[in-house]
Amino acid sequence: MRVLAIALAAISFAAVSQAQAQTTSYKVDPDHTAIVFKIDHMGFSNVYGMIGGADGKIVVDEKNPEKSTFEVSAKLDTINTMAKKRDDHLKSPDFFNVKQFPTMTLKSKTVKKAGAKYDVTADLTLHGVTKPVSFTFTQMKTGKDPWNNVRTGGITTLTIKRTDFGMNYMAKPGEVGDEVEVQISVEGTKI
C-alpha cells in the first residue's frame, strides 16, 4: 500500500513537472524592447516617437500556443519625439496625461497560432481606458545569446484610434491624426 502511494506521488510529480516544462516564462527586457509610434501631423508629414521603460512577463507554451500569455507595460513619461516641448505637451493632459495615467499596458486575451505567426487579441489600457485590440505577432527567434541567457523576441504592428482612449485634443480631420500606428519590438529573457 505504501509502495503504491509513493508510486502515485512520483507519477503525479512527474506529470506536473512535465506540464510546467511545456511553458517557459520570460521577463521583458526593457533595453531591447521598443515601442515606436507614428501619427499624422495635420497632413504635412508624420511624427515619430518612442516609448520606453517596458516591463512585464511573457509565458510561452510551446505545445499549446493558445495557452501562451503576456502582460507588458511601458512608462509614458519616457516618451521621446526628439523635441522637448512636444514631449512635454504629449505628457500633459492634452494627450497622455502622464501625471494621472503614468503607464500603458497590453495584456493578452487570446493567442492563436497562424502558420509561422500568432493572431493575438489583447486588452490595451491607455489614458485610463481599456479597449480590445487585435494584431498579428511574428516571433523572430528563441535561443541563447552570447551570455548564455535564453531569449525570445518578436515584432508586431497595430493601429489604434486615440479618441477611443479619450485623447480627443485636436483629433478632428486636418488636425493631429486620430489613428496611431504602433510598432512593438519585444524581447524577453528566460526566468
Binding site: 523635441a83 516641448k85 512636444r86 512635454d88 505637451h89 505628457k91 500633459s92 493632459p93 492634452d94 496625461n97 501625471k99 494621472q100 485610463g128 479619450g166 480627443n168 485634443y169 485636436m170 478632428k172 486636418g174 488636425e175
Partner: protein, 280 residues
C-alpha cells in the same frame, strides 16, 4: 475660421456664453431667490456644455480634470439652488461645501493626492477658497456689479494663460469657457445690472475660480505661489473700502480697480510666458 483653436473657442466659449447671456437676461424678471437659483443653473449648464464641446466626454465619477470641472460647476448650481442667499457667518457650511467641491475637482487624482507632500498645499487652497468666497460675498454690496465680475475675470484670464504656458491647452480652453461666461455676465451688468442675480454669480466668481487654480497646481504642477499672485484682484476687492478716492460709479471704478489688478498680473504672466518659450 480656418484655425481649429479659434473654431474651438467660438464653439466652446463664445456660443455657450452668448446663449447663457440671453437666457439669464430673460430669467432676470424672476424674483429672488428663484432668480439666483435659475441663473446659477444656467451658468453651470453653460460651463458644462462648453467643457463638453472641448473634451467630448463626461463621466460620473470624473476620470480627469476636464470632467471634474463640469461636475463641480453643476454641484455649485445645486448648492445655489439649496442655499441661494449669502452664507454670511455660516463658515461651517461654507467649509463643508468647499471640501465637497474640492473632492470633486481632485477626485481623478485621489490615488496620489493624499500623500504628506500635498497636505500643506491642500490646506492652503482650502483656506484660500474659504477666504476668497467670504471676501467676494462681503464686498458684493459695496462695489458695482461690473467691478465684482471684472476683477475675478482678470484672475481667471491669468489662470487660463498660466495653464497654456504649462503645456495644457485643453485645460486653458476650459478655463476660458468660464472667462467667456464671466464676460457675458459683465456685459449684462453693464447694460442691465438689475437683471443679474449676484447671489448666483458670487460662488462662481470666487470659490469656483480658486478651485480651478487648485486644479492648475495639482494637475499641471504650476507653482502654487503663482496662484497666490493671481489672487491680487481679490485682494483689491478686499481693500476696496480703503480706496475712497475711487468713485463708486460703474465705469471709473471698473477701470481704475481693473487697471490696478490687471497691470501687475499682466507683467507677471508675460514673464512666465517668456520663460515658457514659444507655444507648441
Amino acid at each position: 475660421m480656418d484655425s481649429p483653436i479659434v473654431r474651438a473657442f467660438l464653439m466652446s466659449a463664445v456660443a455657450p456664453a452668448s446663449v447663457a447671456a440671453v437666457v439669464i437676461f430673460l430669467l432676470g424678471f424672476l424674483k429672488e431667490p428663484w432668480k439666483a437659483r435659475a441663473q446659477g443653473l444656467v451658468f453651470a449648464l453653460a460651463f458644462s456644455a462648453g467643457a463638453f464641446v472641448l473634451i467630448r466626454r463626461l463621466h460620473v465619477p470624473p476620470t480627469d480634470a476636464g470632467e471634474a470641472f463640469s461636475l463641480a460647476a453643476l454641484l455649485l448650481a445645486v448648492f445655489i439652488f439649496v442655499r441661494p442667499q449669502p452664507l454670511g457667518h455660516r463658515y461651517l457650511v461654507r467649509a463643508l461645501f468647499v471640501l465637497a467641491l474640492g473632492a470633486v475637482i481632485l477626485y481623478p487624482l485621489r490615488q496620489t493626492i493624499l500623500a504628506p507632500i500635498y497636505y500643506r498645499n491642500l490646506v492652503a487652497f482650502f483656506c484660500l477658497a474659504l477666504g476668497v468666497w467670504s471676501i467676494v460675498e462681503k464686498t458684493a454690496p459695496k462695489v458695482m456689479p461690473t467691478t465684482l465680475i471684472l476683477l475675478p475675470l482678470i484672475a481667471a484670464t491669468g489662470l487660463s494663460l498660466l495653464m497654456l504656458f504649462a503645456a495644457s491647452a485643453s485645460y486653458s480652453q476650459i478655463v476660458s469657457v468660464a472667462c467667456a461666461l464671466f464676460g457675458a455676465a459683465l456685459v449684462l451688468a453693464l447694460v442691465k445690472p438689475q437683471r443679474l442675480s449676484m447671489n448666483a454669480l458670487v460662488p462662481f466668481l470666487s470659490v469656483f475660480v480658486i478651485l480651478l487654480m487648485a486644479a492648475g497646481h495639482f494637475y499641471l504642477d504650476i507653482n502654487p505661489w503663482h496662484m497666490i499672485y493671481l489672487c491680487l484682484p481679490y485682494f483689491v476687492l478686499w481693500i476696496r473700502d480703503w480706496l475712497g478716492f475711487v468713485p463708486k460709479k460703474t465705469l471709473p471704478e471698473g477701470l481704475i480697480l481693473g487697471a490696478v489688478s490687471a497691470a501687475p498680473l499682466a507683467y507677471f504672466v508675460y514673464n512666465i510666458g517668456v520663460k515658457a518659450g514659444p507655444l507648441y
